[in-house]
């Protein structure tokens, strides 16, 4: 679960303050995927960075899994980030000198798991994203779609309860993007909370809600589900 309350983030451009986020409140429950859309420079990436503890808000509060990030020192935030929060980036960010399994196991090993336990968890995570066979291959031996699914396995391995994805389908073709979203969605349905930053409406359709950012403000949210079949019948 993620809770942002009245989050502001102000940068200074010389003397002039620039509000990247101007009072954003957003709650993402366990089992819920929220898509964030908006034009470039609207604050989407800042929102994700703050949700993941990579950036500190100028004011307001951030809560991840019941921990208020503002009350934690930087080491504790780093631990929370490593153990509870999974990141997926557009450009995968895999370590080229490590195999797929080693990449996925990395956060667990950094967290103190034994190599064997981390490897076992990594293999399970690769299985979950449908890639059990690539465990011992290096990133440059994988297609873009496979690399992204490995990156998702790394973001999901262990006890991650919050998944933050920044344009995860940006570099992928349409079919591969759908495979990536399927994996992401399955993990959310299994109880994680997720935030998906995307500029593609078709992919935002996979989220339970979509929020729009413009000039650092959340302008709207998609209302609750309706019966789409009924809608179809009525609109035809």
């Amino acid at each position: 679960m993620l809770r942002l309350s009245e989050v502001e983030r102000v940068y200074r451009a010389g003397e002039i303050p620039v509000w990247a986020l101007a009072g954003v409140s957003l709650t993402v429950r366990a089992g819920e995927l929220v898509a964030v859309m908006g034009p470039s420079g609207s604050g989407k990436s800042t929102l994700l960075s703050i949700a993941g503890g990579l950036e500190v808000p100028t004011s307001g509060s951030v809560e991840v899994e019941g921990f208020g990030l503002g009350g934690l020192d930087s080491t504790a935030v780093a631990h929370l980030r490593r153990d509870r929060i999974g990141y997926v980036f557009q450009d995968f960010n895999l370590v080229t000198d490590l195999t797929a399994a080693e990449n996925v196991a990395l956060p667990l090993e950094l967290g103190g798991s034994s190599t064997r336990a981390a490897r076992a968890a990594a293999v399970t995570a690769l299985d979950e994203v449908g890639l059990p066979e690539v465990a011992d291959r290096f990133p440059d031996q994988l297609s873009g779609g496979q690399q992204q699914r490995v990156a998702i396995a790394r973001a999901l391995v262990g006890e991650r309860r919050l998944v933050l994805a920044d344009e995860p389908t940006g570099a992928l073709d349409s079919q591969t993007s759908l495979a990536v979203l399927q994996v992401l969605r399955a993990r959310i349905d299994a109880g994680a909370a997720g935030v998906l930053v995307t500029h593609e409406a078709r992919y935002a359709g996979w989220a339970d809600r979509t929020v729009f950012l413009r000039d650092g403000r959340l302008v709207d949210a998609t209302p609750a589900r309706d019966d789409a079949r009924r809608l179809l019948a009525e609109s035809s």
Binding site: A201, D208, A228
Partner: protein
Amino acid sequence: MQRNAVRWGLLALFVDGPKYGYQLRTELDTRTGGSWAVNVGQIYTTLDRLVRDGFVATAGADAQGRELYALTEPGRAALAGWYLTPVTETERPRNELAIKLAMAAQDPSVDITIVVQQQRTESMRQLRDYTDLRRQANEDVDLTWSLFLDHLIFALEGELRWLDHVEATVLRRRHTRPASTAASAPAPAPIPAEAAETAESGQTRR
């Protein structure tokens, strides 16, 4: 539902064998997930016309005594012709949303960003709901339904991209052409969001 589309849709149902009248309605319903709300009367009227035009002919009765109809050779040729003829712009229904936003962009009393946002929220909601259905659909079991949902999803995606474009274009014009008209004749206050668009939001696509 356009009459022409019902006519061709019905004719296409005969490809895999003779059918009785009510069966056409059931099959059309199943293949389009109930989204082509065609009433029984329209089915029978259309069937009569297909018979009159020689595209379909009576073909005896089934075990329950229901009268069967089958595709004729001219019908098969006409169907093949339909598949190979592109749908032209004039046959598509007029789009209320396109007209609404084009008008709103010229009306200084309307805050078009509100109109766009209201529509974006509604379109996004529909997109989410159709995506739910698409995820449940199995294209191996029902290809027609899956592709039909894909059509709705891609159309909504296009609509949302166009909404972004409209908003960006109008905002850019406001920045590059600083309120020269507003200075001489102040624009009335923007109309409230509720009035801008809510009640008919589900009716904008037909």
